[in-house]
């Protein structure tokens, strides 16, 4: 079932074309990795797919309708976004930040119910921060803050998640744990993930599909195992690669 769709998308930033003629159908059950060099337009594309940015040309459809024509709250019930970096905010504690994920589910005048609090607590527990609920965000480390944001995304409980470098600031243990947590959610009916990643091997491990952005605005996409090889990686990152392992357990090492 196609839930998110890019139709004839072209993106341009500062007069530079990042991505041209992109047609993409993202289906339930899939985990997509967006790979590309710095400045290739990964974040811009993720924002366009999220409905946070109007593409220069073309449109993004969520469940068959233009995402920009749907009400923001209705969109937020079905798709969640994890941004690349968080901005330092005014004073807030961890629980309050995670509860912001429940916003789209509440009526305009509603307060969070005990059920909302339970979901937020469960999301915090899932990222191992249950004891941090009362702490001020400012007292947390970068990796802990990243996990709080991921907990807010989990509490939002949107079937379609778009994540911009979810492993930012995370140590090796949590890179695996968090990606596993996110990728497992795609097994639920109607769920799918799109994530910008820099680590090709994490993408190989957790993603089923890949969208590879090249510097000239071209792109390849499809099942990750099929589109990824040393030739295309060298094209993307402009450095030689070596492939190790065999099918089902492949890895790429930059030389």
């Amino acid at each position: 079932m196609t839930r998110l769709e890019a139709r004839d998308i072209r993106l341009e930033i500062g007069g530079k074309s990042l991505c041209t003629d992109l047609n993409l159908a993202l289906n339930a059950g899939e985990n997509w990795a967006i790979l590309g060099a710095n400045g290739s337009g990964k974040t811009t594309l993720l924002h366009a797919l999220s409905g946070l940015r109007v593409p220069t040309e073309g449109q993004v459809c969520l469940d068959g309708r233009d995402i920009r024509s749907q009400r923001p709250r209705a969109v937020a019930l079905r798709r969640g976004v994890l941004l690349q970096e968080s901005e330092p905010g005014l004073a807030a504690d961890v629980m309050q930040t995670v509860l912001t994920g429940r916003h789209p589910h509440l009526s305009p005048w509603g307060w969070e119910s005990p059920a909302d609090h339970r979901m937020a607590s469960a999301a915090l527990a899932a990222v191992d921060l249950k004891e941090f609920a009362e702490r001020s965000l400012a007292t947390l480390s970068g990796g802990e803050r990243r996990r709080v944001e991921i907990a807010a995304l989990i509490a939002q409980d949107a079937p379609i998640c778009l994540l911009d470098e979810p492993t930012n600031h995370l140590d090796l243990h949590y890179q695996i744990k968090i990606l596993d947590l996110i990728a497992t959610r795609s097994k639920r009916p109607g769920h799918l993930n799109v994530m910008v990643l820099h680590d090709v091997n994490l993408a190989m491990r957790f993603c089923s599909h890949g969208l590879l952005l090249l510097a000239n605005g071209n792109h390849h996409h499809g099942p990750l195992d099929e589109v990824l090889d040393t030739r295309v990686l060298e094209q993307i990152y402009c450095c030689p690669f070596r492939e190790i392992g065999s099918s089902g357990d492949r890895a790429f090492l930059p030389e």
């Binding site: 946070l52 923001p72 709250r73 937020a76 807030a92 916003h103 007292t139």
Partner: protein, 323 residues
Amino acid sequence: MRRPGVTPFLVVLAPASLLFAIGTGSVHLGWAGLWRALTGNAPALDATIVWTLRLPRAAAAFAVGALLSLSGALLQVLLRNPLADPYVLGISGGAAVAALGSMLLGLGSAWLGLNAFIGSLASMAVVFGLSHMRGPWTQTRLLLTGVVVAAGWGAAISFLLAISPGSDVRGMLFWLIGDLSYANHIGWAYAALAAGLLLSLPLARGLNLYTRGELVAAALGANIGLIRTTVYVLASVMTATAVMLAGSVGFVGLIIPHLLRLLGDSDYRRLIPDSALLGGSFLVICDTLARSAMAPLQLPVGVITALLGVPIFLVLLTRARFP
């Protein structure tokens, strides 16, 4: 699950501060006298003191304090800058130039207030227009435009002070520090306060999202354009109204929202009403001290807000568990 927080305390503090204000002054009434005056059984002189002198002034102080701290709370989240206060965008500068100009021309206090109101809205329109002229709105652009326009007004204020006759300068300085002696248009102040509360409360949860960043708020379904425009217009009109009544009373708009945050009020659904209550009560107490501490000499209330506010704030800041 709502924790009561500091709201119940503030609900008691507000009427208590008003009672303190109308009970304090050169004519001593006592609790019994105060009660008789409020219930209409007092001698004519006492009734006049309470109903036409002290109560209107206390009511004006409450409105001004509430308007300023609510504007401060809203602008701090709009500009995502903890140093933002109601005057950061040059609103008070425009008002001051208009007010001082009116004093120089010898216009009455009613005109003075009206001109201050117009001056502050004009300044707001200039800042808004300039920061939107080219390219999209960013918080930094808006803040920088405001600070630079404010500096321009500052020069104009110095010029007006320099060319004014000595007899006018004292009144001008009182106005610049903030003074409630000539407050009128109290009805308008409460209308602005009611509008501010009624229009900002529905946005409160959106403002909570906004503290995480504009893009996060948009991703969670908040209407960013509506929040930005509403907050900007509300904060401007509320500040302009406060300035119209009392000149540029400093400090309240900066300190009260932070004080509440330090006391654990970071949810805007609480911060909005609590700011109004605490800001109002705080200014009523400050104004009562301003007119009674060195009686018969009257101090501008802006002196007291800083004298009281600075130590309270610093103590809380050093004792708070939040950095």
